[in-house]
Symmetry: C2
Subunit: 385 residues, 2 copies
């Protein structure tokens, strides 16, 4: 297996519209974010598995022989997996010595890797040895699906190595990509990784990482939109820390306090998502400047609605005001209360304007990237020369 | 009649909640504003009627004998008036030489005075002679009901002089005030003055000027709330000029463009008005600090909704941000797009904080007054010594 050397990448995720409202049964649009996570796997015959995660300063190595006893006694077919194997998770905690309560980012990343690695190869005679590196352009813990992109890459790499999905790489050329069934398998295993990390994830993040593009999420059902444009954006991280859990609870309290005021707001947010979806379809078939004006109006409307829900923050107001001074429209993305925001750039947005805005946002102490949304999902890439 | 010398005052008006939404059949709350208009009438026997309006630099005088021929041939009882006498309006235009199209503030004020004066005394043998002065703390043309307060004062003065309503003043002491029927008569004549000035007014402004307090306005029906508190506020005039007509048209266009997004917003605004009404009733019976917190939350919510309707303005954002930096909550009042805003002050608001905020708002180039809302309506006052 010495000759195997492949690279996979998966995009991050942003919520375009419908954050918080989705918790209350409304429509949300999740979009892939072209700040990607990359995985490189090089097989070897050292009898060792090494995991290298430079973003979170994690470098681990195990003898394959020490991992073999962890394998479940009744192994399921990797294509026929639906429940998380709680016994295996328990064994991994015991083996690694990571605490079950409140594991840190490093612990969760290692546990998710070992879980997917051991489970995918549960049926095979031996465990393969390789070195695996994952690095990411995504800031961790910012609600941008960094753990899902990691899980998607791991899932694709392990399934590929196991032969459960086809190799999409012929020489240094990419073939057309994976089939629908193969992507569904990648997504299922990535979801298991997410469960190891998050407990009860919605499944949206790994779906975005796998399928890419734009997904409609409504009442627990995830539907990829068939025709979507790629949109230029700025992604800004205000770096203001916040607790998603307490923000979600705050919205719930506000709805309880002012039901007649708040329920119509959720209704309006849902309509923003639906209107945006229609506009994106129109852009995909015949883009016009007025379509972008509509997207901008919807961004402004939803940002006000999110403030009504109580998840705004002074740092996000600054983001909106700073970009609007240059004619650009922004909203928070995700939980709010700080965290990240997105700013729409029209296709013809002037580079010098964009550079000025980025500089001004950095001067506010924020991180800011020019990137795009609606980009392809999980991909194999030719290895670097 | 030489000994008649009385002073009336009527409050201005602000919209607490429901501006714009009211046009689309939703509930609005109109409140009296303690920036008042004062009228002083001194009868004389000079055979002249003089009108002195220092705020708008208007000083006019007529021989009573020149006005007599303007009186309608078939005079209605002043208590039994419902239609505007278009012939009289025409005659007044001809008499004064003011153009029928686009008359200015001065022309409208003079026409409204002459209309009410001549109509109220249409049945009597002669027209009384007096000097009449009206001055106001209200900025004109700022959507604060200055014309209605003027009409209410005129109406009360003419009806009082005619003996159609009781004099509420005994010596220099006020009696309990006018009866419901007398107030209704004052309001009807004030409405005629408003029609002379505005063409097709809603009747809300003169009702607020007459009844004071807080009025619920819904689908053309005006209902005074029975028990309301007086609330301390700041009234800020950004002095940014705007056209109410084009703002109303803009909202209509936005509803047409995004019906599924906008209709729920109007619904939510209506619920804000209703929730505010209930909270004000609770404050009137047993005020608690949490009631004021609710009023503040409703102000913030509605300000966001009004921005969603497209009637916000950078000057209003500055108002909200400046006051919020001191823990005070503001919203636009009226048409928006500039114009005026109100800021709620809690009963225990610290005077030095309030003074600092006022100074900061003045430094922005705005006019700012500390005043109150929910105050009494049309009143006679003891004349100044």
């Amino acid at each position: 297996m010495d000759n195997i050397d492949f690279i996979f990448s998966a995009p991050g995720k942003a919520i375009l519209h419908g954050e918080h409202a989705v918790v209350h049964g409304k429509v949300a649009l999740a979009v892939s974010l072209n700040l990607r996570t990359y995985l490189r796997l090089k097989s070897n015959s050292t009898g060792k598995v090494s995991l290298c995660l430079p973003n979170i300063h994690t470098f681990m190595s195990w003898d394959v022989s020490s991992l073999l006893p962890l394998r479940p006694s009744t192994a399921a077919d990797p294509k026929d997996m639906c429940e998380l194997d709680a016994v295996l998770v328990q064994r991994l905690h015991h083996f690694t010595g990571f605490p079950s309560e409140m594991p840190d980012t490093c612990a969760m990343a290692v546990l998710a890797f070992l879980y997917i690695y051991i489970s995918v190869f549960a049926e095979s005679r031996s465990l393969p040895s390789f070195s695996l590196s994952v690095w990411s352009a995504l800031p961790p813990g910012a609600g941008l699906g960094s753990s899902a992109a990691y899980s998607v890459c791991l899932s694709a790499a392990m399934l590929s190595l196991r032969g459960s999905i086809s190799s999409t790489l012929v020489g240094t050329e990419l073939t057309k990509g994976w089939s629908k069934e193969e992507l569904e398998l990648i997504n299922s295993w990535a979801f298991q990784g997410e469960r190891v990390i998050h407990g009860t994830p919605s499944g949206v993040d790994n779906a975005v990482g796998t399928w890419g593009g734009i997904l409609r999420y409504h009442a627990g059902t995830i539907t990829p939109l068939s025709r979507v444009p790629v949109l230029r954006i700025l992604l800004t991280n205000t770096k203001v820390p916040r607790s998603t859990k307490s923000l979600v609870a705050g919205v719930r309290d506000k709805i309880k306090k002012f039901p007649s005021v708040m329920h119509p707001v959720l209704e309006s947010i849902s309509a923003v998502s639906v209107t945006c979806e229609l506009t994106l379809e129109e852009i995909a078939s015949d883009p016009m400047p007025e379509h972008y004006a509509v997207l901008e109006e919807l961004i402004d409307i939803n940002q006000h609605h999110l403030q009504v829900l109580g998840v705004g923050h002074a740092s996000l107001d600054t983001l909106c005001r700073t970009t609007l001074a240059h004619g650009l429209h922004s909203k928070l993305t995700g939980a709010g209360g700080g965290g990240c925001g997105i700013t729409l750039l029209r296709p013809d947005a002037d580079c010098s304007v964009v550079q000025n805005v980025i500089q001004e946002l950095k001067d506010c102490g924020y991180d800011c990237w020019e990137t795009s949304i609606g980009v392809p999902g999980d991909r194999s890439c030719p290895p670097f020369p």
